[in-house]
Amino acid sequence: MISLTSPIETWAHRLPAGTKLLILSALTVALFLAERPWMLGVGLLTIAALYLSAGAVFLRQGLRHLRMLWPFLLLIAVWHGLTGQVQAGLIIALRLLAALALANFVTMTTRLTDMIAVLTWLLAPLRRIGLSTRAVTLAIAMVLRFTPMLVENGNRLSMAWRARSHRRPNWRIVMPMAALALDDADHVAEALRARGGILPDTGSGRD
């Protein structure tokens, strides 16, 4: 499983993840409070400069992640073109682009391990009410490990389907996929328990 972090090392990779997330939250709120097109325009240009400071290849990667917005930008263009509220449309379009580009920039410049460290730190207070952060990190590792495996299961089931039918594989393979996933869950649970369980150090038998 490959994270969306850009393989191109930038200056922003070296900033602490927590700081980046804090700045991102503050700036996203600011983007939604800004009510003049020029403010958002300046914001978007600044974000473009951030991307460009990391190089042209990085900028192209960033633009690819923005492609999902085009149906919405088209909708805004048609809607506000017809109603004549061009300035309001411009504000919405600039805000959509700036908010998504900024969030993607943080994702692209922060390594998975740094993100997990922030998440563990955020979850730490929940230890007091009995949540095991160890269980959470173990669950994250399990999803990373098992997602490609379940995709592989799904592809195998599709192939088996094609071997028997001239029709395309459809929703019917979801049931065996789910059954196999639940079987795997039971096997992993047994293996974990055989190795002392998730919480060997506390020794509590909570279920």
């Binding site: 919405f72 994702t107 098992f146 393979i173 869950a185």
Partner: protein, 181 residues
């Protein structure tokens, strides 16, 4: 404890896998992502609490920067896009779906699970989706409600399929249906 945890983790992986298998279309000619059906299934099979936790776990992984959403999307951008309301509503949708399957025992399981998916995965989820879209696109709630009606037929199909799959799973793995224990 271990079994609960591994089932939650495997179900989070299942929802991700359902969005990532390109060949998996729901038939009917239109390629509909099976991912939101995974959210309905999480509630219907794991029950309210565990179903919501499976979805929250997947959301955490997406936030960490993993491309686990349909079409390989992910990262923090998933929380600020026009469709993010739907994404943010996922755990609530799974919770409500699970709660209805847990409580309503009068009807056949396929009917209960399908109806629960309609309420959790469509009524509740669309409420979140419409509010999110209204904030992002600067339109009124009513205008956004009209914009999303195009997706209701596909989601109704997913709710019916969730009912059928839940019932089939209850038959082949009777003790895996945690929502009924």
């Amino acid at each position: 404890m271990e079994r609960n945890m591994t089932r939650i983790a495997l179900f989070a992986a299942l929802i991700a896998a359902l969005g990532l298998i390109p060949s998996l279309t729901l038939g009917f000619g239109v390629p509909i992502s099976a991912q939101s059906m995974g959210v309905m299934l999480a509630g219907a099979i794991l029950g309210a609490r565990r179903g919501a936790l499976a979805v929250l776990l997947l959301m955490a992984l997406v936030a960490l920067g993993l491309p686990l959403l349909a079409g390989g999307r992910g990262g923090l951008g998933a929380f600020v896009a026009p469709t993010s309301g739907f994404f943010i509503g996922w755990p609530v949708a799974a919770f409500v779906t699970g709660l209805i399957v847990e409580r309503w025992r009068g009807a056949p399981l396929a009917v209960t699970a399908a109806a629960a998916s309609v309420i959790g995965g469509i009524v509740v989820l669309y409420a979140f989706g419409i509010v999110g879209m209204s904030i992002a696109l600067g339109k009124t709630l009513a205008e956004c409600a009209v914009l999303v009606t195009a997706f209701i037929p596909g989601d109704l199909i997913k709710a019916v399929l969730t009912g059928l799959i839940t019932q089939a799973l209850a038959r082949s793995r009777p003790d895996s249906l945690l929502s009924r224990y």
